[in-house]
Symmetry: C2
Subunit: 364 residues, 2 copies
């Protein structure tokens, strides 16, 4: 089997064009197939040698839903595992309008100039190209996408949150094995992607903007308490006073939160992605956190917890999928929901009847 990325007409995954617009239709129908599929060893050697083109092809395998691709992908991942882990993983979230793309561009350029190797990934199961999915628009990270040591990859465009998150997490492994030392994982701040991202990064950054509160409309409650730090973006022009006042407000609010499990005290910084100011302060917050948690042992502890979390999460998702994709169950669920809403049946009896049908033993 051949892959579209091996096709000479496919320019997306070249190192200087990191942002690849994902094909919105079946790529196998869209691109001519020319080259042979690489072997597991070739993928691993290419990744380990820092070949961005091969890395990109391997990520495409990870994202593929073809069982034959998955079989190869899993072997590649397993071979890369021993070389993974040597990076700082940072989750970045914020509603549309918070300026995530320009912030990541500004931060990314700074990191690249400092010699870092930067991979920018995303989790956004809802993304559709027509809706302007995050990272989907190449022009939004114009400069960074042409940087030599940056690898930008849009969110896998199809599948459940669990599936998309799994692919992003596996892509982290491949990027680390390829020598990327800094991984940014972007989410949109409006759904459950944040929990998934939070479970695969070391530091979780919430990007905010100042204003009357309207800008916060889109963000999901609970995310603020997940954050290890807040960056108040767009601190520029006539907005400086407001942004600085917001920093104080957030500082006070964060002080009311209970301590984090890591012992770290989250705080807020201001920055401007267009004027390139404060970006260094935001990144210092991240590196301070990494130093702090490496010293007190939380860094490794969290990584271990996360690795186990993804095993359990995959098991749970799979068990639930089997249940809800059962034809009989699928048909009966709406009826049971209605009975519950009519007070004709208790939620627990409904569950047990469905479970009995499914053949599982009801919970005691």
């Amino acid at each position: 089997m051949e892959h579209p990325e091996n096709d000479s007409e496919y320019k997306g995954l070249q190192v200087n064009e990191g942002v690849v617009p994902l094909p919105s239709v079946n790529p196998y129908a869209t691109f001519r197939r020319k080259k042979r599929l690489l072997t597991v060893e070739e993928y691993v050697a290419g990744i380990r040698g820092g070949d961005i083109s091969i890395l990109g092809q391997a990520v495409t395998l990870v994202e593929s839903s073809l069982p034959s691709d998955q079989a190869v992908a899993q072997k590649v991942i397993e071979a890369c595992l021993p070389y993974s882990g040597n990076s700082v993983r940072v989750g970045i979230t914020g509603v549309p309008g918070a300026g995530k793309s320009t912030f990541i561009e500004a931060l990314g350029m700074q990191l690249c100039k400092q010699g870092n190797h930067l991979a920018v990934l995303a989790i956004d199961p809802s993304s559709e190209r027509s809706k302007g999915s995050i990272l989907g628009d190449k022009t939004r990270m114009n400069e960074l996408s042409t940087a030599a040591n940056a690898f930008i990859r849009p969110s896998p465009s199809a599948g459940s949150l669990g599936g998309v998150a799994r692919k992003t997490r596996e892509t982290i492994v491949l990027c680390e094995a390829a020598g990327f030392d800094t991984i940014l994982v972007e989410t949109v701040g409006v759904g459950q992607s944040e929990t998934a991202a939070h479970s695969m990064v070391d530091f979780f950054l919430l990007l905010q903007v100042t204003g009357t509160g309207d800008e916060l409309q889109g963000i999901k409650r609970g995310i603020m308490e997940m954050a290890d730090g807040i960056a108040i973006n767009k601190c520029d022009g006539t907005n400086v006073d407001k942004a600085q006042a917001a920093r104080v407000s957030f500082k006070n609010a964060l002080a009311l939160f209970p301590p984090t499990e890591s012992g770290w005290k989250p705080y807020a910084e201001t920055c401007s992605s267009v004027e390139y100011t404060g970006i260094d302060r935001v990144w210092k917050m991240v590196t301070d956190y990494i130093d702090f948690t490496r010293k007190n042992g939380y860094f490794d502890y969290q990584r271990s917890q996360q690795a186990k979390y993804w095993m359990y999460e995959t098991i749970h998702q799979s068990l639930l999928d089997s249940f809800y994709h059962n034809a009989e169950i699928e048909q009966l669920i709406p009826q049971y929901e209605q009975k519950i809403l009519n007070n004709e049946i208790s939620s627990f009896i409904a569950a047990h009847e469905l479970l009995t049908l499914y053949g599982a033993k009801p919970d005691k």
Copy 2:
């Protein structure tokens, strides 16, 4: 089969002694059996007639893990369902030291004096009598436990969180069918019980105390953003200024949170449970919320969502229990965890190998 509550020596569930210390060992071994088990019809008639003793016996059935008891309990619940729902359900959380017991006593006495019929329940899967479980100590709600129209029931003392929460939720149905118009559900603010409680109440109240932040040590992050309101307790004596300053701080912090799904804007009130001040303001917050959400439709919407939630939650818990109680899986889990921590296997391969062993189809 007979039940301990039917035994004349068992005084716990009399109306004027609402707080029943749960037996720490198998009650069936501890109490002599004398009276016959009531029929489903007798339970339902007793509950509907407001017979607190029969209500208490029915709750004991709900809490029992004996299949024969559960069969009767589920029939009783189903018969009570059409008469349930006519209450205001309030979740109350706060760390030990926040003064939950005295607050509930003060609030409860006020509600009883106003003619309300009050049931106080709890979710605390970790509770053990020796550790001073919530509501377990009768002396902590001395006055309320002797009030004529109050029914106080400690947390079921054994079982998983899911099991304990289910029992509490089913007890709400029975209490409502018995005519209780106000249900308080207490949790300890340190674990996952808050999510469970939040999923069965209309209003979720966070009880805080003032101080340097030490008092917050125990509370779990994320709970503050779950709250529909905050009550700052112990606003008395030399603590008044600090409590009022805290109210302003929390007010400002809450204003930074994104809006709630209900459209309600959570705020903070001060109160003193020992001086009986501000309790009315806290309760007004609850009733204002109820009025607000009844008018905009959120009240009924949330109730429907909750009823469905518990069906799905029960299904999920049962599917997971079946998996993890599988002897082979139970034995292999620690080995797989270790392999993951050693980077010998990816979290996803580990999950799929275990799922294959279990016979389930792996998630794609």
